[in-house]
């Protein structure tokens, strides 16, 4: 509970607007739902597809999750934040789906990541020093496409667990502990996977120049 009192201004603002959205959803506001949907649906589709393994099943799972969100909004208590609550519902739906299909689901580190081991000499020094990157903006055209498209492609190519951690931590701004709870893994594992995901993306961007 001490955490609650330490919320900074941004978070308080976010909680307030969240409470408002929840109130509106309970009153059946279509606008509130549309706003929530726009905010999360693309991410949810990516996460669900990552877990269930096909786009069609990912869409169904996300659809089911939205229905569950609407059906249960009266029971949302605001302890963990709306985004967290939605992603827990989504990952639970996705897990049941995978289990129903008789497969196993695991968010443990699945990285085979080549890492950077080969970049160092025996004494842990760079063999070739990384160079200074010039400013890279999403709209910059590199190798014929927007940098944003290259990044999106690289994210899609990540192992599923790393991709999910990156989406939840970096794109949705959830904490390590929230992300660990959603993926039912340890915070340490979340940190490892996030680091590997960043290394892989960096490597991808490095190759573009």
């Amino acid at each position: 509970m001490a955490n609650r009192r330490r919320l900074d201004g941004d978070q308080q603002e976010q909680r307030r607007s969240e409470a408002q959205i929840v109130r509106q959803l309970r009153a059946g506001s279509k606008e509130a739902f549309t706003q929530l949907y726009r905010q999360h649906n693309t991410t949810m589709l990516r996460i669900a597809t990552g877990i269930v393994g096909s786009e069609a099943a990912g869409e169904e799972t996300t659809h089911d999750a939205w229905i569950a969100v609407l059906n249960n909004i009266d029971r949302f208590e605001g302890r963990s934040g709306l985004a967290h609550w939605i992603y827990v519902i989504l990952t639970n739906k996705a897990r049941s789906r995978v289990e129903r299909d008789g497969r196993a689901v695991s968010f443990e580190d699945d990285g085979t990541g080549e890492g950077l081991a080969a970049a160092f000499d025996g004494r842990g020094r760079w063999k070739a020093m990384p160079e200074l990157w010039e400013e890279r903006t999403p709209e910059r055209i590199v190798a014929g496409r927007r940098l944003a498209d290259h990044v999106a492609e690289a994210i899609d190519a990540l192992p599923p667990a790393q991709r999910m951690v990156l989406i939840l931590r970096v794109q949705q701004g959830l904490s390590s502990s929230d992300t660990a709870a959603i993926l039912e893994t340890s915070e340490a594992n979340v940190r490892v996977m996030l680091h590997r995901a960043r290394l892989a993306l960096r490597q991808h961007l490095e190759r573009l120049t």
């Binding site: 739902f33 549309t34 009266d74 639970n92 842990g124 020093m129 990384p130 794109q171 960043r198 961007l205």
Partner: protein, 94 residues
């Protein structure tokens, strides 16, 4: 003194503000003295920012589904609401 390899291993911790005290000081010292690592951390920050921007950008498909409801959009929201209204709250609490 940390090696460059150790700096790379701790770089995400630095970006996420998870280092403190002695660990943070050792990182700062190394980055001050080593151009390669300082470039590397800059690259990783840029990578992270690009990944974050990439998620914030509304997806093309999603945008068209709302601003330009075509035949591929058979009033998804209404269907959802009807379904939600029909159902009893029987879902497991998250």
């Amino acid at each position: 003194m940390l090696t460059c390899k150790e700096v790379v291993e701790r770089a995400s911790g630095l970006i996420d503000g998870e280092l403190s005290g002695w660990e943070l000081w050792k990182m700062r010292l190394h980055l001050f003295l080593c151009r390669g690592c300082s470039h590397f951390v800059g690259q990783l920050r840029q990578t992270n920012q690009l990944a974050a921007d990439c998620g914030a950008r509304p997806d093309e498909q999603e945008r068209s589904a709302f601003d330009d409801p075509g035949p591929q959009h058979p009033d998804f929201l209404s269907r959802l609401h009807t379904k939600a209204a029909d159902r009893r709250p029987d879902e497991r609490k998250a």
